[in-house]
């Protein structure tokens, strides 16, 4: 039997004005296990805590019930007070007689009666409380960053600068991501690669950063502080150590018809290739599907011309296993496919392009050498139409429900750049809303209108009709002028919605990180924990969490790095002791609990058990304390009740029910 002390707080008059605290104290004396009961004006004050301290010592209390404000307010205060007096902090229960009682009831009799019942429930619960001790788990001081775009690069640099080793896993042959494909960046119009390549070089040279390009995460096991990750290094067919990056192989490669992924399919590349000139690492890969040597066995020119002897046709995929304390997801985004938007004639006309394609066309290293031209006939476009929100803010299944956030600004940028470079080209932007929240963003948009004469029309385009003369007829409406517009354009640019990289779902599953229906990773709290996944030890950087521009991505990347550093800086992690536990004598090993565990915290082991003299090997559920967050989903799934939650056990909750219904 516990020796319980009950402490009733007046909270000034907050409680005492509506609840007869003396009566509550008196009623407490009759409850089983109660050996001490008193009231005080402010239990949370130093003096109030001193009363608790004294009573624990003098009356040898083993459990406390504090009738006061919400446990969300002062549970920690009273737990700490108990601990100082030598009592296990988990032997404290709070009866919430302020928020749930005195503040919402007016009648003293009624409120007092309810306060007594709430106290009884707390006493019933504390009677069944058991001392709990937080567990400890170790922290591997190494971080993994999945994705080598600007988000991943920034996160890796920040973590490494704090002194922790970082590995970056990038799926493509080079780091750099989407940003490396961009020409200029808003709102300052810096050249994208001028600001990105130094960072790529920095990452490459950093002694604490190791880059796995052309690699993918194969599996993830473990939990916060102690992840074990398998990384598949795809066969590059080129020895990274020997290659000098001279580029001769690419020049001589006879297979040159593959579409360049980097140029969004607007140009071709050789079968052995680096995606772009500033690639990091500057080591090519052989595209085995395009390579003549791999297709027919005859060729081998690259091997012959390579003076370093770096070409290795026999290379195979390699699996690297590494341990990490923290994982940052920075998988980025892609444009949605536009095949469901027939009305914009994207697949019918070469001159209807996406913004990212325009980005490549405008880029000096792009397919046209930076010259703005129609892809159909190479002529200079004189009339360009931009269509906003293609697939963004869509309620149907053709597009995405969210605003892609970056399109308004990059379209203003495109319009401005075109008007600047080609002043005799007219630019018309059909918009639904122009959204420019951000530092210097609206000023930037206004410059496009006021200084560069970009024609903004409020109204979504209905249809783009390719004409026999090669022009594009754009049918739109000007909602403000109430007129329908038919405009002949030479080029139409679609601001296609962005979507998270489709591979992220697979990665989220491996990490047991939660993901929403749009494939964006879910943050632990929308406002207060925006860079953490609800799964401990997983952090989010960049567009994988939601649409973002570059400055936002970089700030979030830094924030994710700080969170990861905060974790890596710890030597040991204290775990929440209110975790689930399975009783090995009752567990059926049926696997139902593992099905509902959101954290993958439950595994099974064959264990020798002694069940009242019967010795046998049984399949038993084992809960990993470091992973379990204490939700209790497993406890209800377990039909035998073998699985129970410490701190909220079945018997405790039933006791509370009984006390309330008594």
């Amino acid at each position: 039997m516990q020796r319980i002390g009950v402490f009733v707080c007046h909270c000034g008059t907050n409680i005492a004005a509506t609840v007869d605290v003396k009566k509550v104290v008196e009623m407490a004396q009759h409850e089983p296990g109660v050996v001490h009961a008193e009231d005080y004006a402010y239990m949370c004050s130093e003096a109030g805590q001193e009363l608790i301290h004294k009573a624990i010592k003098e009356k040898k209390l083993t459990g406390l019930v504090v009738c006061s404000c919400s446990p969300r307010m002062h549970e920690t205060t009273f737990r700490n007070a108990a601990e100082k007096a030598g009592l296990n902090p988990y032997m404290v229960e709070i009866a919430n007689i302020r928020e749930h009682c005195s503040w919402i009831h007016k009648d003293i009799g009624e409120a007092t009666e309810k306060a007594v019942i709430l106290m009884r429930a707390a006493i019933a619960k504390v009677n069944l409380d058991a001392p709990l001790k937080p567990g400890e788990s170790k922290v591997t001081k190494r971080a993994l960053v999945i994705g080598g775009g600007i988000a991943g690069i920034q996160t890796a640099l920040d973590i490494a600068e704090a002194g922790y080793p970082v590995d970056i896993v990038e799926k493509t042959p080079s780091i750099g991501g989407r940003m490396s494909q961009l020409d200029k960046t808003f709102p300052t119009l810096d050249c994208s690669s001028c600001i990105l390549t130094p960072k790529m070089g920095e990452v490459n040279a950093h002694p604490l950063i190791n880059i796995y390009t052309y690699s993918e995460v194969e599996s993830v096991a473990g939990f916060v502080g102690d992840f074990t990750v398998e990384i598949r290094k795809k066969a590059r067919s080129v020895d990274m150590d020997k290659c000098t990056g001279c580029g001769l192989c690419q020049e001589k490669c006879p297979s040159k018809k593959s579409l360049s992924e980097f140029n969004r399919g607007l140009s071709t590349r050789s079968a052995i290739y680096t995606p772009f000139a500033q690639a990091v690492p500057n080591v090519p890969v052989i595209d085995r599907e395009a390579c003549i040597k791999f297709k027919t066995g005859k060729c081998g020119i690259c091997s012959k011309v390579c003076q370093a002897g770096a070409i290795d046709y026999d290379q195979t995929d390699e699996i690297v296993t590494e341990k990490y304390g923290a994982i940052v997801v920075a998988t980025g985004f892609d444009m949605i496919k536009l095949d469901k938007y027939d009305e914009y004639a994207y697949s019918q006309s070469k001159d209807v392009i996406t913004s990212l394609e325009l980005e490549r066309i405008m880029n000096a290293a792009g397919p046209t050498g930076g010259h703005l031209e129609r892809l159909s006939d190479g002529k200079d476009p004189k009339e360009i139409v931009f269509i906003q929100c293609v697939g963004s803010r869509c309620a149907d299944d053709r597009g995405k429900s969210y605003c892609s956030k970056i399109c308004c600004m990059y379209t203003a940028k495109h319009a401005m750049l075109i008007r600047d470079k080609y002043p005799d080209t007219n630019v018309t932007v059909f918009y639904i809303d122009v959204r420019t929240p951000g530092k210097n963003f609206d000023e930037f948009y206004r410059r496009a209108v006021e200084d560069y004469g970009v024609n903004y029309i409020k109204g979504q385009v209905g249809k783009v009709i390719p004409q026999p003369n090669g022009k594009l007829l754009v049918q739109g409406a000007d909602l403000l002028d109430s007129k329908q517009i038919l405009k002949e354009a030479d080029m139409v640019v679609l601001a296609a919605a962005i979507e998270p990289n489709p591979d992220v779902r697979k990665i989220a599953t491996m990490l047991t990180a939660s993901i929403d229906t749009n494939n964006f990773l879910t943050e632990a709290h929308a406002k207060l924990r925006p860079v953490e996944s609800p799964t401990a030890g997983i952090f989010l950087s960049g567009v994988c969490q939601g649409p973002k521009d570059i400055p936002e991505t970089v700030s979030q990347a830094g924030a994710a790095a700080v969170k990861a550093i905060g974790l890596l800086a710890k030597d040991k992690l204290l775990t929440n002791p209110c975790t689930a536990h399975s009783d090995e004598l009752m567990c059926n090993g049926c696997s139902q609990c593992a099905n509902v565990c959101p954290y993958g915290a439950i595994t099974y082991e064959d264990r020798e058990v002694n069940d009242h003299g019967i010795r046998e090997r049984r399949r038993i559920a084992v809960v990993n304390d470091a992973l379990c967050q204490g939700c209790g989903a497993c406890t209800v799934t377990c039909p035998s009740g073998a699985m129970d939650l410490q701190g909220f056990s079945n018997r405790q909750i039933l006791a509370e029910v009984d006390a309330i219904c008594r």
């Binding site: 229906t517 009783d583 004598l585 009752m586 567990c587 059926n588 090993g589 049926c590 696997s591 139902q592 099905n595 509902v596 099974y604 069940d611 046998e616 399949r619 799934t637 039909p639 035998s640 009740g641 073998a642 129970d644 079945n650 018997r651 039933l654 006791a655």
Partner: protein
């Protein structure tokens, strides 16, 4: 055994061939079992042996050649042997188990829950053409039964001929079938090593008709119905012991984890809530094998609880048959974002 010989010899000329076929099928099971025992493939055989009455064969192990004298397989072998495989899986060597089509669902469900070891089982899928309910026969006023023929002639048998101390009586096979066979899940075995004998789908009713009838009642009528049925319960635990889904090492009602095994609670909480909680614990895992209702000595239609859950699951979360596959998630360990809200219960009225 004697009754058997007599029964078969009394079968009508038209069903003579079938008789032979069926008798042969029982013999084939026996012969095959002996063979597998002899060559060491299996260490024991789990089947049915004749009881003290012509209609109560019981599950039994057969380990030696001579044991098979009592081996029977006929229309009264309703018992689902899959649950016995939990214990058999712990024994040395393989166990040959005879499973009817509907029993294989239970076996798969138990496999899914890691309670039986597939490698320890040699499954002979035995043919089934509907199992018989002696209570139904008795309810027809047929008393003082000495022998029954037609029970084993399942191929074409349409009539049961029953010798009683009051003379010979007959009844249609169909009319004597267990309720569950009228809503048969199908004649296919979900899992087996080999199949002996043919099966027939005996479904001639909708399995939710009874549930719908209750759903249509007023709350007062519903309550009166269940109060009457549940008041019959003598808490013998037969339903729990026979149920393949109720296979917990320790039942929640026997453990101290919920306070439910305390004396005071045995009298009130368990007393009142046992069947609801039992049905909830097997919801999404119950294959609707109907054993609970078959063994209930008080004749409580316990399957009506399980089937209500099955019907709700089918309607709210999509058609689901427990044990039809080995997918680990059951309807209660799965979800969809757009699932119905609990308020739907009140809305449906």
């Amino acid at each position: 055994m004697q009754e058997f010989v007599k029964a078969t010899s009394q079968a009508g000329a038209s069903s003579h061939l079938a008789t032979a076929g069926q008798r042969e099928s029982q013999t084939r099971v026996i012969n095959r079992a002996k063979e597998l025992l002899a060559d060491g493939t299996v260490a024991r055989v789990l089947g049915w042996k004749a009881g003290d009455l012509p209609y109560n064969p019981e599950p039994a192990y057969f380990e030696k050649e001579e044991d098979f004298a009592d081996f029977v397989y006929n229309g009264f072998c309703g018992a689902n042997l899959s649950k016995y495989m939990i214990e058999a899986s712990k024994l040395e060597g393989k166990t040959l188990v005879c499973l009817k089509p509907c029993d294989t669902y239970s076996f798969q469900e138990l496999m899914k829950e890691h309670r039986v070891d597939r490698d320890k089982a040699y499954i002979i899928g035995v043919g089934c053409k509907g199992k018989l309910d002696i209570e139904k026969i008795k309810a027809m006023g047929i008393k003082g039964i000495q022998s029954i023929s037609g029970a084993e002639l399942e191929d074409e048998a349409e009539t049961l001929t029953i010798q009683t101390i009051y003379g010979e009586k007959t009844c249609a096979y169909k009319d004597a079938m267990l309720e569950r066979c009228h809503v048969c899940k199908g004649k296919d075995h979900m899992i087996f090593d080999e199949i002996i004998g043919e099966s027939k789908e005996t479904k001639d009713a909708d399995r939710f008709t009874e549930v719908e009838k209750i759903e249509a009642m007023s709350p007062e009528e519903k309550f009166a119905f269940f109060q009457k049925e549940l008041s019959k319960c003598i808490r013998c635990n037969a339903c729990r012991n026979v149920c393949p889904a109720c296979s917990c090492r320790k039942c929640v009602f026997d453990s101290n984890k919920f306070d439910s095994a305390q004396k005071a609670n045995v009298d009130s909480f368990e007393e009142k809530m046992f069947h609801i909680i039992r049905a909830f614990h097997v919801a999404g895992r119950c294959t609707d094998c109907g054993e609970c209702s078959r063994v209930c000595p008080q004749g409580i239609p316990l399957h009506l609880f399980n089937r209500k859950f099955i019907k709700d699951i089918d309607e709210l979360y999509g058609e689901y048959q427990a044990g039809a596959d080995l997918e680990p998630r059951t309807p209660l360990t799965d979800y969809r974002f757009e699932d119905a809200e609990p308020g739907i219960v009140a809305e449906r009225g």
